[in-house]
């Protein structure tokens, strides 16, 4: 048996063997290492970017929650009844309460967006002192000493540094703040030293916030300090018992969780891509090690005869795998950090997906993350070395020492049963539901399809090549190529495995993205049926019923529909859904319904988006309660419509129902049909001015085509990063496959020498190798296309619905697939020719005598 010491510390001879290998055959090792590095880099950078964005968000939330032990938040952006403030205060579990109005607002002409908080500084002083303003350069000594604690003036505002920067305001300025469709001027009194850098926040008095921004009688948040006698759980219990339906117990951790859940599926998808690169790396390690073991058979046999144990040989290969994995992982970690740094500093943490927006903190690398990713890379490489190691150990040394054992698999039938079994398992896995919102079984199904496809590739190769071998008159080079491939299917499989894996995944991604984009495009077409869209947008304009009537009566307008969108929280653990208030039954513009109630039930109907239906498990006709009003509002699901825009879900309610429920008739968006749709550019200019005159602020106006372009642009941008990363992974994969092929060709120098002896020209050998490459390419392409299509169906019908809660129709991009196929075939042919030129250049005589 090998001693433990020997296992742990490779003796100099092993190092020599490994380094010798590296010097002789650097390329296949380099590509194996690179592929592992790419996988690690991808996974690690996604992890770092997300951790940095999450930390920044979490810090900001915690920062602004101060030392509160609990928070009550409005379930909708309508807030909750302000009397709750006194009721919560009177709970014996509560020591103090700070009431807060929270709105999104726009500062001055700059259009700078801030979080506007209305606070009672006296109450905030004990719970969230970070929200207290500091008066700037006050001449009054007493005011500056005391005033920093309690400036109560109701028409002054304090800005955070980020808000100062984005609004260009200075202390003492009169600043117009727009929020909730209202505007009011505030004097900038000073800054908010407690607010963390990067957070755009403005703080005003709570009474001013209620009065000037149309929030009388309501609050958005209560920051609560627990009394010393109460425990956190008794506080939670007491609160839950008394909270009305339109208020919810919230807290910093809840907010962080909500945000994380929004980007989780996206992150998992990116990390799965990283895993794909890793798996490809594993394949490359496998083929590189197989070849090198084969090449070193005689070395190994000699060592065995000299008294080395079987297991030591196997360990040698595992050690080599460890070295490869370590090199790949370390390189990957460095690349991943650099990539994350570039993304965060240049592009921002958005990553193109829109999920990581907001400010980011410094990149925080934890030891545990480093170890996990290092472990992944090393495990992959060791795993790839396992089978070659076992094969090397199993060799009969007496036989192997004499001659390099060539392909001993002539005529052996490939076993197809495990491959088929894997595909059947994949089918079963694809039918299983998501685990905790993540399509774990879907990804396992993808892995099973890949494994099955790779397993079946030799079988497929035989199936495709056998008919070719019966064809005659194609030339001797072609026949030799076909027969070579038929004689050594498993050697072909080593090269083919990499091709199938990367081509299959690329095809799958391409089909999935094309399906997604086509579905989004069709959806946009159906949902953007008005000519012009006006939104309160940046300037927070809102139109009251009188203004709505005036706008509807403008001469250019054939029909104007007014709508409004608020946030509404159906589950405290989920991000809020959008509640859009618009005409439905009487509307000119149909919702893209995919399911409708058979008949109208009594009560208030709502139409929910497909993601909302999936997230909250809602069916047609189901009765639910919306958290509007202290007792909630019972509604029923009258329809489900497809929506690709709001991953968190959306609900549509009849405009009239909303007005009756809330008493709010103001709306902030308009969908306009023009009298003359041809006149759109001139009409929109006229309308812009007229609506400005009516509403008092410049409206944001866009036409349907513009919105569609923006939406598709966003879509492409969010997938650009995916495409880019995928392309890099596949490129490395393909180059690795090429290197494998070249190495295989390198082992056949003797064969070429023989062929030269019996009269083959160099050109014929190269031609034969080109055919081999082409045929391998065709087989790989066929397997890749088949498995890619299968995987794309798993992505379209299982993984995407489970992670993003939306469905789509398959749309195959034939031209793109044709292009990929052609590129693959040309590349494989060229690689073979390139490899062949080198091999055929060797001296024929020396080659035949290659024996030592």
């Amino acid at each position: 048996m090998t001693s433990v010491r020997q296992m742990v510390q490779p003796s100099p001879i092993w190092r020599w063997l490994l380094l010798g290998q590296l010097r002789t055959f650097p390329f296949r090792y380099i590509f194996a290492v690179l592929s592992i590095a790419i996988g690690i880099a991808l996974g690690f950078s996604v992890h770092l970017i997300n951790a940095s964005a999450s930390d920044a968000f979490g810090d900001a939330v915690r920062n602004m929650s101060g030392s509160s032990d609990a928070q009550v938040a409005g379930a909708t952006s309508l807030g909750f009844d302000e009397q709750l403030y006194g009721q919560v205060y009177n709970l014996s579990e509560v020591a103090d309460v700070s009431p807060v109005i929270e709105m999104s607002a726009v500062l001055g002409e700059s259009g700078a967006r801030v979080k506007l908080l209305g606070i009672d500084p006296f109450r905030a002083a004990t719970i969230t002192p970070v929200l207290l303003g500091r008066q700037e350069s006050s001449n009054d000594q007493s005011a500056s000493r005391r005033g920093d604690q309690a400036a109560l003036a109701t028409n002054i505002a304090y800005l955070s540094d980020a808000a100062f920067a984005s609004s260009n305001a200075k202390p003492g300025d009169l600043l117009t703040i727009r929020a909730n469709g209202q505007t009011h001027d505030f004097q900038v009194a000073g800054d908010l030293p407690g607010i963390e850098a990067g957070q755009s926040v403005a703080v005003i008095d709570i009474a001013a916030a209620q009065w000037h921004f149309d929030r009388l009688g309501v609050l958005d948040r209560l920051d609560i300090k627990r009394s010393e006698k109460a425990t956190q759980s008794s506080l939670t219990r007491a609160m839950q018992e008394m909270l009305p339906r339109d208020a919810r117990l919230s807290g910093a951790e809840n907010e962080i969780q909500k945000r994380t859940s929004l980007s989780r599926a996206y992150r998992v998808n990116l990390e799965m891509l990283a895993l794909v690169a890793l798996v490809t790396g594993g394949f490359l390690v496998y083929s590189a090690q197989s070849l090198s073991a084969q090449k070193r058979q005689q070395q190994f046999a000699l060592l065995r005869i000299l008294g080395l144990q079987k297991s030591s040989l196997q360990h040698q290969l595992l050690w080599e795998g460890l070295a490869l994995g370590l090199a790949g992982s370390i390189l990957g970690l460095i690349l991943g950090y650099a990539f994350a740094y570039l993304i965060l500093t240049i592009i921002g943490s958005d990553l193109g997906g829109g999920y990581f927006s907001g400010s980011t903190g410094p990149i925080d690398v934890t030891i545990s993350a480093l170890l996990v990713f290092l472990g992944f890379g090393i495990f992959t490489a060791i795993f790839g070395s396992f089978a070659p190691g076992r094969r090397a150990a199993a060799l009969n040394p007496a036989q192997a020492i004499k001659t390099a054992v060539d392909h001993q698999e002539k005529g052996k039938q490939p076993i197809w049963l495990p491959g088929v079994a894997l595909l059947v398992v994949a089918g079963g896995l694809a039918l299983l539901p998501a685990v905790d919102g993540l399509p774990i079984f879907g990804y396992l199904a993808v892995a099973a399809v890949l494994a099955g496809a790779i397993w079946l590739t030799p079988w497929l190769a035989r199936g495709l090549l056998t008919p070719l071998s019966r064809l005659s008159g194609r030339g001797i080079a072609f026949d030799l190529a076909v027969h070579h491939l038929l004689r050594s299917p498993s050697q072909a499989a080593a090269a083919l495995g990499g091709i199938v894996a990367s081509v299959g995944l690329m095809i799958a991604m391409v089909i999935m993205v094309s399906s997604f984009r086509t579905s989004v495009d069709n959806w946009l077409e159906s949902i953007l049926s008005a000519d012009l869209y006006v939104s309160g947008g940046l300037v927070e304009t809102s139109f009251d019923s009188k203004q709505q009537a005036e706008i509807a009566g403008l001469p250019d307008i054939a029909d104007a529909e007014f709508s409004k969108t608020i946030n509404i929280s159906l589950d405290p653990k989920q991000p809020p859904v959008n509640l859009t208030v618009r005409p439905v039954e009487s509307s000119q513009y149909d919702l893209p319904l995919i399911a409708v109630a058979e008949q109208r039930t009594a009560g208030i109907p709502v139409w929910i988006s497909e993601p909302a239906a999936r997230i909250y498990d809602l069916q047609i006709d189901q009765n639910i309660s919306l958290p509007i009003g202290a007792r909630g509002t019972p509604v029923y699901v009258a329809g489900i419509w497809s929506d690709y825009a709001r991953q968190q879900g959306a609900i549509v309610m009849e405009s009239e129902d909303y007005t009756v429920l809330t008493g709010i008739s103001a709306r902030s968006e308009i969908a306009i049909s023009l009298q003359d749709p041809q006149d759109i550019s001139a009409a929109s200019e006229r309308l812009k001015a007229q609506i400005r005159d009516i509403a008092g602020t410049e409206p944001q106006m866009s036409n349907a085509a513009g919105i569609r372009d923006i939406a598709l642009g966003l879509f492409d941008r969010s997938f650009a990063i995916t495409y880019g990363l995928e392309a890099v992974a596949i490129f490395i994969g393909m180059v690795g496959v090429g290197a494998t092929f070249a190495a295989q060709v390198g082992t056949r120098v003797k064969e070429f020498g023989m062929l030269r002896h019996i009269g083959f020209g160099r050109r014929e050998i190269i031609k034969m190798l080109a055919y081999e490459g082409l045929l391998l390419g065709i087989v790989g392409l066929a397997a890749g296309l088949l498995s890619g299509f299968a995987i794309s169906q798993i992505l379209v019908h299982v993984i995407n619905p489970q992670s993003f809660n939306l469905t789509m129709k398959t749309a195959i991009p034939y031209m793109l697939l044709l292009g990929i196929s052609a590129t693959l075939l040309i590349t494989s042919g060229l690689t073979a020719i390139f490899a062949g030129r080198r091999a055929a250049a060797a001296d024929a005589l020396r080659a035949v005598n290659e024996d030592w």
Binding site: D96, R146, A151, A153, A208, G217
Partner: protein
């Protein structure tokens, strides 16, 4: 007394710091002579006036016979801000309170404070009778006429029932109390001396039953101190024989009195009201606060002319370090003092710079 005028003015100044743009301003009633003080209504809040307070000071004795000094002050101000804000959070009334406990055993004064805008049944000063609620602190007059106050601060708590043993003493001209040379510089002002105290105190983590004597000062007004005033010195003394003395001087920058006044009521209930020329304050020993650097005449005497006779009331502190300072509390000295045949409180403001105006 109008010691708290300063706090009122400070708050009013802060509150109105940015209110210049509005024309809807509070219409503060003027303090005029001849208004009759009526009980129990005038124990309650007078919301229209700019400032008002309920000021309790007194000496306590634990069951083991150890003395303690306490003060509990509830203070209401109506800030000079726009009055047309319909929000229930509009800071139309601010309630502020501080409380302190002086313990000669530790030589330390512990104190705490509360502040908030009135509303939502959490913070209220009711009219009709004394009933002030400020978060977890409160002062109410029970149906038996007992002033009941509960305040719990950092490191101490007071739960005291103060039962009047005498009718209220109307200061100045039947409760119309001049503060300066101008007739408008005045307040409505009455005191309830010789309150019999029982209750409990938590100090140093120990709960103790206490008894004692206390003094209630009630004052409401709309106008400010004379412009040239930097501070004042005030005392309220309960004598063992049942008589009571209140005296004050408003001090200018030169240390000289700008205005002065006071009342003496003997055991039989006969009251003498002092004119400005009848009251003098003479410092005797200075103590310098290590915390703020302010120098207070912690030992002093009030020299009063009554019936043509000058009489000196020497005041000695329970201990020196009875200075208060806090986020919302101006820096001043408010301490338990003894005098020959009586005990009470001495208040000195404006020694740490001019009291905020």
């Amino acid at each position: 007394m109008y010691r708290l005028v300063a706090i009122a003015i400070f708050l009013a100044a802060v509150l109105s710091a940015g209110a210049w743009a509005y024309s809807d301003r509070p219409d503060y009633p003027e303090v005029t002579s001849g208004k009759k003080i009526v009980f129990p209504e005038d124990h309650g809040s007078h919301d229209a006036f700019r400032t008002e307070w309920w000021y309790l000071t007194g000496w306590l004795e634990t069951e083991s016979g150890d003395p303690l000094g306490f003060q509990i002050t509830f203070f209401r101000t109506r800030p000079d801000i726009e009055t047309n804000n319909p929000s229930k959070f509009a800071p139309n009334q601010i309630i502020f309170a501080h409380a302190a406990l002086s313990d000669p055993k530790t030589g330390k004064l512990v104190h705490d404070e509360r502040i908030g805008r009135a509303g939502f049944d959490i913070i209220e000063a009711s009219s009709g009778d004394a009933d002030v609620k400020l978060l977890d602190w409160q002062l109410t007059r029970t149906i038996e006429g007992v002033f009941d106050s509960k305040v719990a601060g950092k490191d101490f708590a007071l739960d005291l029932q103060m039962k009047p043993s005498q009718p209220p003493m109307l200061n100045g001209d039947n409760g119309y109390s001049r503060k300066g040379p101008k007739a408008s510089q005045a307040s409505y002002y009455y005191s309830v001396p010789q309150l019999v105290v029982s209750g409990s105190v938590i100090s140093g983590g120990r709960a103790m039953k206490v008894t004692g004597r206390a003094w209630l000062d009630r004052e409401w007004s709309s106008d400010v101190l004379p412009e040239n005033a930097v501070g004042w010195d005030w005392t309220g003394l309960n004598f063992d024989d049942g008589s009571a003395l209140m005296a004050f001087q408003v001090r200018g920058a030169d240390g000289q009195a700008v205005y002065a006044g006071g009342s003496f009521r003997d055991a039989e209930g006969k009251q003498t009201v002092f004119s400005p020329n009848d009251v003098r304050f003479r410092p005797q020993r200075i103590w310098k606060s290590p915390e703020t650097g302010a120098a207070y005449p912690v030992e002093a005497e009030f020299i009063i002319r009554m019936g043509g006779q000058w009489k000196s009331y020497g005041l000695k502190p329970m201990f020196d370090a009875q200075e208060l300072t806090g986020p919302f509390t101006p820096t001043y000295w408010e301490g338990a003092v003894t005098t020959s045949g009586g005990r009470g409180y001495l208040e000195m403001t404006g020694y740490a710079g001019k009291i905020a105006l």
